[in-house]
């Protein structure tokens, strides 16, 4: 009995040492010099174009566009052309238009036709299905069934940069328009302005 008691205590102690004393650890790997942050926080590291600018522009444009077609009996079919970067810095404008497209699609107010950038992949896949002879005829996408967009979204981003000995001021203006492709009329336009000033 005594021996069994001692053995039980020892087992509990060893188990405690192995597991209990180590504490609850986070499911992470690495020494901890890397940290995750809030992707939606206001980024003020420098006054170059940043994540907050991209997010605010995409949100503002997507909501304005969605509102402009709200209540339409049929969801318009649109395509996105490139946004021209007329600033002096490198800005991935494709990332802005991608975010706008995601938000409009999620809002359920518009449909998007394949844009110029995606056309090669689209036609390659269509040709592979219809011309390779590998697929069952009844299960392949048919050539000549693609839909042309009714509207085209395009825009540009410009900036004005001013510097003094201790201040840098950057003004961004993002403009977007929606054009009726058939008749060439501009049916909607909006813009978003951002000013960022830093001093040192």
């Amino acid at each position: 009995m005594n021996s069994l008691f001692i053995r039980s205590i020892s087992l509990v102690a060893v188990t405690g040492l192995l597991f209990g004393c180590s504490g609850t650890s986070s499911p992470t790997v690495g020494s901890g010099n890397v940290s995750y942050g809030d992707a939606k926080a206001v980024e003020q590291v420098t006054n170059e174009f940043g994540s907050t600018d991209l997010q605010m522009i995409a949100e503002s444009m997507a909501r304005s566009l969605a509102q402009s077609v709200a209540g339409a009996p049929v969801k318009p079919l649109v395509t996105i052309s490139d946004v021209k970067n007329k600033t002096g810095e490198y800005i991935d404008t494709r990332s802005i238009t991608d975010s706008i497209r995601v938000q409009i699609l999620k809002s359920g107010t518009m449909r998007f036709a394949t844009d110029i950038d995606g056309m090669k992949n689209q036609t390659d896949e269509l040709a592979r299905q219809s011309q390779s002879g590998l697929y069952k005829k009844s299960k392949t996408a048919k050539v000549g069934e693609m839909q042309g967009a009714q509207y085209r979204i395009e825009g540009n981003i410009t900036s004005i940069v001013k510097r003094s000995s201790d201040t840098k001021d950057v003004y961004y203006k993002f403009s977007l328009i929606l054009t009726d492709i058939e008749n060439g009329t501009i049916e909607w336009a909006d813009e978003k302005e951002i000013r960022k000033t830093s001093s040192h």
Partner: protein
């Protein structure tokens, strides 16, 4: 009970109800404090008014903020969009920085991203916030 006394309030109420019932565009913002999540107690910039309306199935909000300081102050806000059951129907928005001029009032507007949004909460953060007073009524 005299039927006249029973019918009179109904006759008076019906036109009032039809007038109010047809004007469905403004959405009740409810008690303002219930719609705004203050992150700390703002020393200078306060939310003084909140209006909401519905347009083509989308909610539109207008938040009036006032800066009681003579200096410029930064504020940050974003909206959580909820369905009628209180479930969040859109990803967290980016925080929006707004520079308030000294001794100024400003309207901040927001539009819902989806017609699924039926309710909202505004997260509000101002420069020089003090910690929330746990004893203060919410």
């Amino acid at each position: 009970m005299n039927l006249k006394y029973f019918l009179l309030p109904i006759v008076l109420l019906l036109p009032t109800m039809s007038l109010l019932g047809c004007a469905t565009a403004p959405v009740s913002a409810g008690p303002m404090d219930a719609k705004i999540e203050h992150q700390g107690t703002s020393s200078y910039v306060k939310v003084v008014n909140l209006a909401a309306k519905e347009s083509d199935g989308f909610l539109a909000l207008q938040l009036e903020v006032a800066n009681s300081d003579y200096k410029r102050r930064m504020i940050y806000y974003r909206v959580k969009w909820l369905d009628a059951s209180g479930f969040q129907v859109w990803d967290d928005e980016p925080w929006k920085p707004v520079l308030m001029q000294g001794s100024a009032r400003q309207n901040l507007q927001a539009r819902s991203p989806t017609p699924k949004a039926r309710d909202f909460r505004i997260q509000f953060n101002a420069e020089n916030n003090r910690p929330n007073d746990p004893t203060a009524p919410h």
